[in-house]
Symmetry: C2
Subunit: 372 residues, 2 copies
């Protein structure tokens, strides 16, 4: 199998945005890229063939969910996650850490790892650095993530430092365990922690560089902190990341957050926002968000977004989409998800085009301060 | 607009099965035909484009549901049901009678019609022959049905006769009201009632023929009676229906029921079975039904049905379909519905082919008694 690599194709003249390509065993991925979230081995309400039509090149799957159901060993016996879900393009898996820590009352942390109770049936499970590696290897993803503690917000500096240092010790163990079993077709990414403290973030980057990873993620953001604070942390952290490796901002975010982070030089994004909002009837359009349940749309014969070419916008009126939502029809989630993912993936396409033309700052109305 | 008509293309040599075409303002429909049920203006979990790919030529929509939500007048203002749901092929609407009568504790019947309470919010509504015609006209369906009382099972002969006679008086009022406002692009079908009593069924047919309808439906079957009894009633009733008009068996049924009825000369069918079963994980295959939740399928890498060419069977394993079902993924309903409707529509295709070749009795293992 082809080994994982990343190359920068072009750097924007007026910002730190860059155009690149991730080469994986399951195809090339132009960056900046948005990864639709396929939690349980399926992007909710989206047939895989539609994802291909949208030119999605990589999706994210959740280790925590797949470990609990159907089980990583079962997926492995069925040929790995690609074959299981009939997805021939790239897959990134998270480490399960985020989900394990988000159920605060269900887990117990030690140096070894985390004991937690399943949200499905309350059964007890252990997840630690080595096991998180084994699970992701069994799933056979193209990009795996180290097991880390997602530092919550708010969090004092002493706790944030202890949490970051635990994550860094775990990152070392992940890498050590990884090296004992994997070929280089799967890339293991490190994750920068350190809360909202620039010096802790810097220390975290240094420790990860010392361990050595082919890609670097920024974790622990978009966890409740004010948006300006998230931007500040990013603005001080991203320039510390090596420019020859892909940079992944985990779990972010809104279109505006993505546009801002791309301007700082971030290459990869994932977020449940387009898919979850779709199921809740919150739809992204070129003229802002639409809450489709609003009575104003009950007899609105216009398409959701006159500038969108997706099947939903080509065929259906806002009135029909509102009706499907109000009636609780399965088709509501299907058509809404198709539209919201089209919106996100089209946006990434426009972002890449603007960078290629050195028009990123102009087209996306950024301030244009190049921080590098 | 083209007027509605029906022609018989070929009669099977060894049974009463026949091949025909329904000509409608929204396309030609080869018969025998199965109509997927699109209750609330959407075939549940099925994108319209997929229905077209499956070569579905006509769907059924429910007057009761669309009257309550989003409202027939709203649908009319939005250009009619075809435009509302972006379906350019034919639509048959029922009259709402079946749903109104099925909520026994929520309705009050009089000669005029039925007062009932909405299952959505408990609000009071009236539906009668004239209003059922007005609603279907507003929806703009291609085939409308008279408003009738669906005689329950069990039901004594005196009650069955009273019920049938009420339905026949209503059928007359439907026709009278229909003639005052509609062009001949929409066909109004009569519905034979009479419970399980052959002489009442015969009387009902005579009354409907006297009123005059371009198509005849058999109602009040598959409402809890034993399967043999349903077949007996059909065997005595269908031969009474005029052979130059389409015959529609409402709400039926299983593949076996359809095969039996086609052999008697029935041309049209609708049933929630393929779509509802799909959502419940009950899947039709060439080797019988599969309950996908069964543990036996947890690591079954085979397609659902190796003889099926649908997207679900081409791409996914039973193990994956089981996982989606167990995880409550939206995609489960989508992929299962696609498969079950493919199964039904493929079966109708094979039925038509067998009739054309005079091989219907042989291929579908019927007894071959031609009752005509």
């Amino acid at each position: 199998m082809a080994s994982f690599s990343y190359e920068v194709i072009h750097k924007d003249a007026r910002s730190s945005a860059r155009l690149g390509v991730l080469h994986t065993a399951h195809g090339d991925i132009p960056t900046p890229v948005f990864m639709p979230v396929g939690t349980a081995g399926a992007v909710k309400a989206m047939p895989g063939s539609w994802l291909e039509t949208l030119d999605a090149r990589v999706i994210l799957a959740n280790t925590y969910h797949l470990y609990l159901r159907p089980g990583h060993e079962r997926v492995q016996r069925l040929g790995g996650l690609h074959q299981f879900m009939a997805w021939s393009r790239a897959i990134l898996t998270d480490s399960g850490g985020y989900q394990v820590f988000s159920h605060r009352d269900l887990r117990r942390i030690s140096e070894d790892g985390v004991w937690f109770k399943s949200h499905l049936d309350g059964s007890s499970h252990f997840l630690g650095p080595e096991k998180a590696m084994d699970i992701q290897r069994a799933l056979g993803s193209d990009i795996a993530m180290v097991f880390d503690e997602c530092t919550p917000y708010p969090c004092g500096k002493i706790d944030a430092q202890a949490s970051m240092e635990l994550s860094m010790r775990w990152a070392r163990r992940c890498k050590d365990h990884w090296m004992r079993g994997s070929d280089d077709s799967i890339a293991l990414f490190g994750i920068v922690q350190g809360g909202i403290f620039p010096d802790l973030r810097k220390l975290s980057v240094e420790k990860l560089l010392d361990i050595g990873f082919p890609g670097m993620a920024v974790g622990g953001l978009s966890v409740g902190e004010p948006r300006d604070l998230m931007h500040e942390v990013l603005e001080s952290t991203v320039p510390l990341l090596p420019s020859d490796r892909p940079r992944y901002l985990m779990g972010v975010g809104t279109p505006d957050d993505i546009i801002h982070a791309v301007g700082l030089g971030v290459d990869m994004f994932d977020c449940v926002l387009p898919t979850r909002n779709a199921r809740n009837g919150c739809l992204f359009t070129s003229e802002g968000r639409i809450l489709i349940k609003n009575a104003a749309y009950a007899e609105d014969a216009r398409p959701l977004d006159s500038k969108c070419a997706c099947m939903t916008c080509r065929n259906y009126s806002r009135a029909y989409l509102r009706h499907l939502f109000m009636a609780g029809e399965h088709l509501s989630a299907v058509l809404n998800t198709l539209h919201n993912l089209t919106f996100y993936l089209d946006m990434m396409h426009k972002i890449r085009e603007a960078i290629a033309l050195n028009l990123y700052v102009e087209r996306f109305e950024l301030t244009g301060n190049k921080p590098e």
